[in-house]
């Protein structure tokens, strides 16, 4: 199984290479000259030309790309024009917050989605089914940032139950370490930090997870309905297997097969939403970094963030594919 995962990651690498070239080319086509933006306003043509030469912008595009790629392979993504810090370090600092958000949103979405799918299926033909349908349609039709704003208003402002900005309460400092708040706080034995981080994560992760759970529930319900009609379900029922066991031990795993790749595909959408939600909640993650970089036409940062996004999507799809292999013996080579 590990070998398959490694193989899938290896297959994804060329994709990553193509994406990096695409990002590089697209950004160079923008009517933005990094040399100009990195100089104070009112610089002379000569100064700009010197700067362009210094930044390597006067070389042909493929050469620029080759140089950039060569450095990127060594972990050097260049210098942020706006923040004057190495891009690699910026991304590394921002990544844990985003991973924590996207990961917990995904967990919430999976739990709600699978639970919702099972519930939808169990209620089929009953009077409560349309009610649940409506809830799911609602969850799906509100974009995650509106959920976020709604949560901020209800739980943050009106009820004042949950903190609305940042990753930690003011006054608390993140313990040093991996950058992942939950890991670092536990390692440092700072349960107050852990609790605060949890409270800060509840709203953004739920806002993101809810919008994402609804389509999972729908897909799971549809595949459960298809699986329910299969011969092996009828045969198990004829052996006297109970309905609960039929659903959980026989139908669910078969119905998960079409649902998993769907979750993988949706992950890209989720990460996109995470960037927006971060900005709303003022989390110092990739989203905030991205918005800042876009505002200042900070091309090296945009480039690196784009690449990180692509890598994340590919990794999740490889993981989903491997999981599918574990669940479906028919896909394995005998």
């Amino acid at each position: 199984m590990l070998r398959t995962l490694a193989w899938r990651v290896a297959v994804a690498l060329p994709t990553l290479l193509v994406v990096s070239a695409l990002i590089f080319a697209a950004l160079r086509l923008l009517p933005v000259d990094p040399a100009v933006t990195s100089l104070p306003a009112g610089a002379t043509r000569a100064e700009i030309a010197t700067m362009r030469h210094a930044m390597g912008l006067d070389r042909p595009l493929p050469v620029q790309y080759a140089i950039w790629l060569g450095r990127a392979l060594h972990g050097d993504f260049g210098q942020s024009i706006h923040l004057h810090r190495p891009v690699g370090g910026l991304v590394r600092d921002a990544l844990p917050a985003t991973i924590e958000l996207a990961g917990s949103a995904m967990a919430i979405a999976s739990v709600l989605g699978i639970g919702g799918g099972l519930l939808l299926f169990a209620l089929r033909g009953r009077r409560l089914e349309p009610a649940l349908e409506t809830v799911i349609t609602l969850a799906m039709s509100l974009p995650e940032f509106l959920w976020a704003l709604l949560f901020v208003f209800v739980f943050g402002v009106a009820l004042n139950l949950l903190p609305v900005t940042g990753r930690l309460a003011p006054g608390l400092a993140q313990p040093p370490g991996t950058g992942f708040l939950f890991i670092d706080s536990l390692r440092a034995g700072r349960f107050d930090v852990f609790w605060s981080a949890l409270l800060h994560l509840v709203m953004p992760a739920s806002a993101l997870g809810i919008a994402f759970a609804a389509p999972i529930a729908r897909v799971l319900r549809t595949s459960l309905l298809a699986v329910w009609e299969q011969d092996y379900m009828r045969q198990a029922r004829l052996r006297g297997v109970s309905e609960t066991r039929l659903l959980l031990a026989h139908a669910l795993r078969n119905a998960a097969l079409p649902t998993l790749p769907f979750i993988g595909r949706q992950f890209g959408v989720l990460v996109g939403g995470a960037l927006l939600v971060e900005v709303i909640f003022g989390d110092p993650g990739i989203g905030s970094l991205m918005v800042d970089a876009l505002r200042h036409a900070d091309l090296p940062v945009i480039q690196a963030v784009g690449l990180a996004y692509c890598a994340a999507v590919l990794a999740i799809n490889a993981a989903a594919g491997t999981l599918q292999l574990i669940l479906d013996p028919r896909l394995r080579r005998s």
């Binding site: 299969q230 011969d231 092996y232 009828r234 045969q235 198990a236 029922r237 004829l238 052996r239 006297g240 297997v241 109970s242 031990a249 026989h250 795993r253 078969n254 097969l257 669940l327 479906d328 013996p329 028919r330 080579r333 005998s334």
Partner: protein, 611 residues
């Protein structure tokens, strides 16, 4: 006191909504008894109600179906009066089921062991005994290396092996009653025979009573003690198995017998008009439901309800003495060797596949060194078990696949390479008909437009297309009003006729038919065979692929027998069937259910399983 008795059971289906609701009886006043250790065959076409009987026994009627009256006694209790929980607790313990399609009846994502032990756990077997008991159970159904099989998934086993696993599960609890719903319908003839022998052996050893649901009268006669023939939801005839087949009292039983081709001799097939009434027709039907199709009916038959009368032999017919007047159709004229020119020549055809990944690559051969010629107007049968290369051969001939070696010559031109010129020659000369008409017909197209697809592609005018559609539908016995229907609104038999008509619309000289009568009941099959036989007059050649020897013997002039990708025997049909040369042909012939009631399989001679 019998072990299991059904008394006057009526099951109805609710049709329509609101004020228009009607109840159609899918089972009507069915009474049956089954003693310990006895095998009772329920014979009927699809839609006759035999599966509904199985589902009623299991308390698992589909939505909209309900038991309207009657009782069902099992071990001295009316099980219809029991709670659903009690009923369910009997399943898999006192009453077990053996399914129709064994590969589909096992959960594809769980190992054989995990499915066996779930059943053992339910039977209350302690956990530590599961493995030993599983190995024992698989050995009992004569599966080789049972310990190795435990970790396998269903897709890694053959259909016959899956069915053995399911039989092992069914017998695990030593149930008193087993309901077997066409347990061998999805299996090849040699495997089918071995599975039936196995079931008979286990059943005798344990004294289990078996309710054997099948549409194959001859098969049922071979293994059942008694038979009940079901038509449109009612038992029309019941009696000792041998006596029912030897002297049928109901015209329908007689018709069933005369409609099925025999592997032992070539004979004429009785073609019943029309088909069994469907659900909607059952809601309003009166009198004898078979009367409209009955060759010996009287005016009064369709008016009066006709009860099942008699003691040991029961029949629901007013004039059972007339049944013997139904005589076999005259045998079809003997074949004469075709003097036409060679239409298709196949030389040393092979298809090999590379399997495996980057490493450990090996070659697998689906077809090796196949050679034969086909003359104009000839009907060639291709027989063999599943996986013997029959369908590969067909795919190569029609150009759906390319051979890795050999030559195909069609109408004098080399079409091996499948280039544009070859495609042109194929289009002008051959057409294919597929096994499953439901998936071969575009569900969104009207019948008329499906039939004339080839003409549409050739940009023929609409007037001509309509004329051709009308003509072909008449030739195929399809009502002209069906022209504007969608495939979903037709019966399976009608759909297959549409599929054949579509192929004929292109005026091919060669028709390649892959198992096109296999999925149908004998009455529908006889209708289709009659249609195909009539094509002979037009001079068309036919390659007829089938696993059913009897059908091939009935229809084809010449036959090739395939085994494991090779042609093991070829020749005139009569010669191959009467004096087979290859061992495999002899084995196939021996495994086919014989024509007239044979002695039941015995416990003694059980060959080792190969499927």
């Amino acid at each position: 006191m019998s072990l299991f008795a059904v008394s006057d059971l009526t099951v109805t289906a609710r049709l329509g909504k609101g004020n228009e609701t009607v109840f159609a009886p899918v089972l009507r006043g069915v009474s049956l008894t089954l003693d310990r250790g006895m095998v009772l065959g329920i014979v009927g076409e699809s839609g006759a109600g035999k599966s509904m009987l199985g589902r009623a026994i299991a308390d698992q009627l589909p939505a909209g179906f309900a038991i309207a009256s009657g009782r069902m006694d099992f071990a001295r209790r009316n099980i219809l009066a029991l709670t659903p929980a009690t009923r369910r607790a009997m399943l898999g313990r006192d009453i077990a089921f053996i399914p129709q399609d064994p590969i589909a009846a096992l959960n594809p994502v769980r190992t054989i062991f995990s499915q066996l032990r779930e059943h053992f756990a339910q039977l209350g077997l302690p956990r530590h005994q599961h493995r030993a008991r599983a190995i024992e159970a698989l050995a009992e159904v004569q599966l080789p290396d049972p310990a190795d099989l435990l970790g396998c998934f269903p897709h890694q086993l053959s259909g016959g092996m899956c069915q053995r696993v399911l039989i092992a599960m069914a017998f695990a609890s030593r149930p008193r009653l087993i309901v077997a719903d066409e347990p061998t319908a999805a299996l090849d003839a040699p495997v089918q025979a071995r599975i039936l022998e196995l079931m008979a052996a286990l059943q005798r050893r344990a004294g289990t009573a078996v309710l054997f649901l099948t549409r194959d009268l001859r098969l049922a006669t071979g293994i059942c003690d008694r038979l009940a023939v079901l038509y449109a939801g009612a038992v029309v005839e019941e009696g000792g198995a041998a006596s029912v087949l030897a002297r049928p009292l109901h015209p329908y039983t007689r018709a069933l017998e005369l409609a099925s081709p025999s592997p032992d001799m070539r004979r004429g097939l009785m073609v019943l008009p029309d088909h069994m009434p469907g659900l909607a027709a059952l809601a309003t039907a009166n009198g004898c439901r078979f009367a409209p199709r009955c060759p010996v009916r009287s005016a009064g038959c369709a008016e009066r309800e006709i009860p099942l009368i008699g003691d040991d032999r029961r029949v629901a017919c007013q004039y059972p003495e007339r049944t013997s007047r139904i005589v076999p159709s005259p045998p079809p004229p003997p074949f004469r060797a075709s003097a036409g020119e060679v239409l298709l020549q196949v030389d040393g055809l092979a298809r090999r596949f590379r399997v495996g990944g980057l490493f450990r690559r090996r070659e697998m051969s689906a077809l090796e060194d196949a050679s034969f010629t086909l003359r104009e107007g000839e009907f060639l049968g291709v027989v063999g078990a599943s996986g013997s290369g029959k369908s590969t051969l067909a795919r190569l001939i029609v150009g759906l696949d390319r051979p890795t070696a050999g030559r195909i010559t069609l109408a004098g031109a080399d079409v091996t390479r499948g280039d544009a010129a070859a495609r042109q020659i194929r289009r002008a000369n051959l057409q294919m008909v597929f096994a499953d008409p439901a998936s071969a017909l575009n569900p969104r197209r009207r019948i008329g437009s499906i039939i004339t697809q080839a003409l549409e592609a050739a940009h023929r005018p609409a007037v001509e297309r309509e004329a051709v559609a009308a003509e072909l539908m008449r030739a195929m016995g399809l009502d002209s009003e069906l022209v504007a229907r969608l495939p979903g609104q037709l019966s399976g038999g009608q759909r297959q006729r549409v599929s054949i008509a579509r192929a004929l619309a292109a005026r091919p000289r060669l028709l390649v038919a892959d198992e096109i009568v296999a999925g149908f009941d004998v009455a529908i099959q006889a209708q289709l065979l009659a249609l195909l036989a009539r094509l002979r007059a037009s001079g068309i050649a036919l390659i007829f692929i089938s696993h059913d020897l009897a059908v091939v013997r009935h229809l084809c002039d010449r036959v090739v027998v395939m085994q494991a990708g090779r042609i093991v025997e070829a020749g005139e049909t009569e010669r191959v069937f009467t004096r087979p040369q290859a061992d495999y042909t002899r084995e196939l012939l021996a495994a086919a259910p014989p024509d007239i009631g044979p002695p039941a399989p015995t416990l003694l001679a059980i060959p080792p399983p190969s499927g």
